[in-house]
Symmetry: C2
DNA sequence: CTGAAAGCGCTTACAG
DNA sequence: CTGAAAGCGCTTACAG
């Protein structure tokens, strides 16, 4: 690739003048500018972004740290992020942690070494100290989906309301024994959804039946399957199951059918992290749809605002909350 | 973050000595080295990778350009790539083109500006000239899934065999009117699968029934749904449908059921780009499973080999072909 | 309006 | 075994 120097030589000016002309940083004589642009065109010059980064201390790159992008709500979030970033002249550096704190630590350590201006993370919650260290080095941190600490910005959905509304909907349909298959551990979305569920049940004077999915991320079919077997053993009269994700819900459907029951006649099912794909399933999934693409776009916009506003530390942290939307389909 | 200079000051040596000690580039007196390492530890020093990149002309970053990572085989491929890259000390810069040649062009132009050492791409096929230009600038190019041009390395599956084997399997089951819902345009996997299908049908003296999915990427439910309606109108006695992806297959199932037919009794269905999620669907999907994770890992390994072997142009191009595996499940 | 110089944080010949 | 110097490709005060 041609460099600034090549352009400068061809246009018979100093590199600094070329730089100014290309960045519109100061007046450059129109005639000079014309010559420069001609040279740029002739050489097919494009600035070396790495050199620019080193000099300006800005990478125009955002790190994204998520459990998994494969068959998960994060796939759509990342896609929204990437599109928005591209439109605003940024790139996306991505890491999948599989919810393993050790991998998360490695990814963060790497990103910290000047690779990114900011990090958008759905964290395990085990590396909050490291995150704080990174933030103190003027790398912006934004949490997505999982609001693990109030000390950082966060873009998430209203999980309490999500749990509350889903439960109330099932109650209105006449369900009296509503099970909740919830994620494992101190992940905020799980806790808040549980609180919403609890509140709605109390209001209807119903009892709660909760099973935690296995501890390794809870995104999978097997979790839904096993948890449902447990629930059905515990509560033979179960008439509804609320479950964290669409994929788990597939496990729920299979377990319910295997028990000789049918969906939705005997057991109604609702997924609490609805993905558009739910509409296309064989028995279309009723779910609380999460606006994942919009959340990704929002996180990117907020991130770029943070990055470009210089004084990170002075800014008050924002908690942006999206509403989920009940999509009634065939499983209820 | 601390810099080399800080470490050098604390250890009372020159920055060059620190650099050598940390990179094991030359003998450094053990005692000096000890002092340096102590200083590194004390300051929590980690090298600035951007500066290193600029100096060495290596980015330790791989660009990935794919149609979409959301609910697609590419999600798993990218995950495999990312894990492998992380283990080998590389990062992944990702772009989703949505199969739009214009977006693809933008992404490539951006990556070209010093951001990456190499690009792994599942291309639209519309920017091959640009790709060749980029390759000539010593940025390695590896094609994944879509072998659009023999002038670059490629990691793909054996699509011909995939189409052939799937068809033959259906023939053995007794199917006599086998439809193929294929992707649109000159995308190699589609063309090769069609050839395999054609060959197997000819061998069994059967007629072919082919419908192309809509032209916008063919990854979607709606494509499968519409194409199936068309096929059923065309061939009322249809008894099997081969379709490009699991997600399209969901559309096929819905259309078949809507026509009052059942799966697999009346119509058997097989997906030609099987994803593990197929096993979890309500009617588990028979499919030709593509080893997507392994393909991603392989592409990354090959890429890093290329990058680190200096003389790109001299190397013969490799075409690495993975076998697909028939997974018989409930839709057949 | 433009040039010369310094510097971002590293690495790497070149001396010694 | 180690230091001083140059340079990767840019940007940005500082003069003029």
């Amino acid at each position: 690739m041609a460099t600034l120097k090549d352009v400068a030589a061809l246009a018979h000016v100093d590199v600094s003048t070329v730089s100014r002309a290309l960045n519109n940083k100061a007046y450059v004589h129109p005639e000079t500018k014309r010559r420069i642009l001609k040279a740029v065109k002739q050489l097919g010059y494009a600035p070396n972004l790495v050199a620019k980064s080193l000099r300006q201390g800005k990478r125009h790159t955002i790190g994204v740290v998520v459990p998994s992008i494969n068959i998960s709500i994060f796939g759509e979030i990342v896609q929204g992020m990437e599109e928005q970033a591209r439109n605003l002249g940024y790139s996306i550096l991505i890491s999948n942690t599989m919810d393993d704190p050790q991998i998360e630590r490695e990814c963060l350590a790497r990103m910290r070494t000047g690779l990114v201006d900011g990090i958008v993370i759905a964290s395990t919650g085990e590396n909050m100290r490291l995150l704080a260290d990174i933030a103190s080095e003027n790398i912006a941190i934004i949490q997505i989906v999982r609001n693990q600490s109030p000390q950082f910005d966060c873009v998430a959905a209203d999980y309490y309301e999500c749990g509350y509304e889903a439960t109330q909907y099932l109650v209105k349909l006449g369900c009296r024994h509503i099970g909740l298959i919830n994620g494992h551990g101190h992940i905020r979305p799980y806790e808040e959804r549980y609180q919403g569920y609890k509140k709605a049940l109390a209001k209807a004077h119903l009892q709660e039946y909760v099973v935690a999915a296995s501890k390794d991320g809870s995104q999978y079919f097997e979790d839904g399957y096993q948890a449902t077997k447990e629930l059905l053993k515990m509560v033979p009269s179960l008439d509804a199951i609320m479950v964290a994700t669409d994929l788990q819900a597939l496990g729920v459907i299979r377990a319910v059918k295997k028990a000789g029951l049918s969906v939705p006649e005997d057991v109604r099912i609702i997924s609490l992290t609805g993905h558009p794909v739910g509409a296309t399933l064989e028995t279309a999934m009723t779910s609380m749809q999460v606006p994942s693409r919009e959340m990704g776009e929002c996180a990117t916009k907020l991130m770029i605002e943070r990055i470009e506003s210089e004084d990170h530390s002075a800014i008050r942290h924002q908690q942006i909350v999206f509403q989920t939307m009940l999509m009634t389909r065939e499983t209820t």
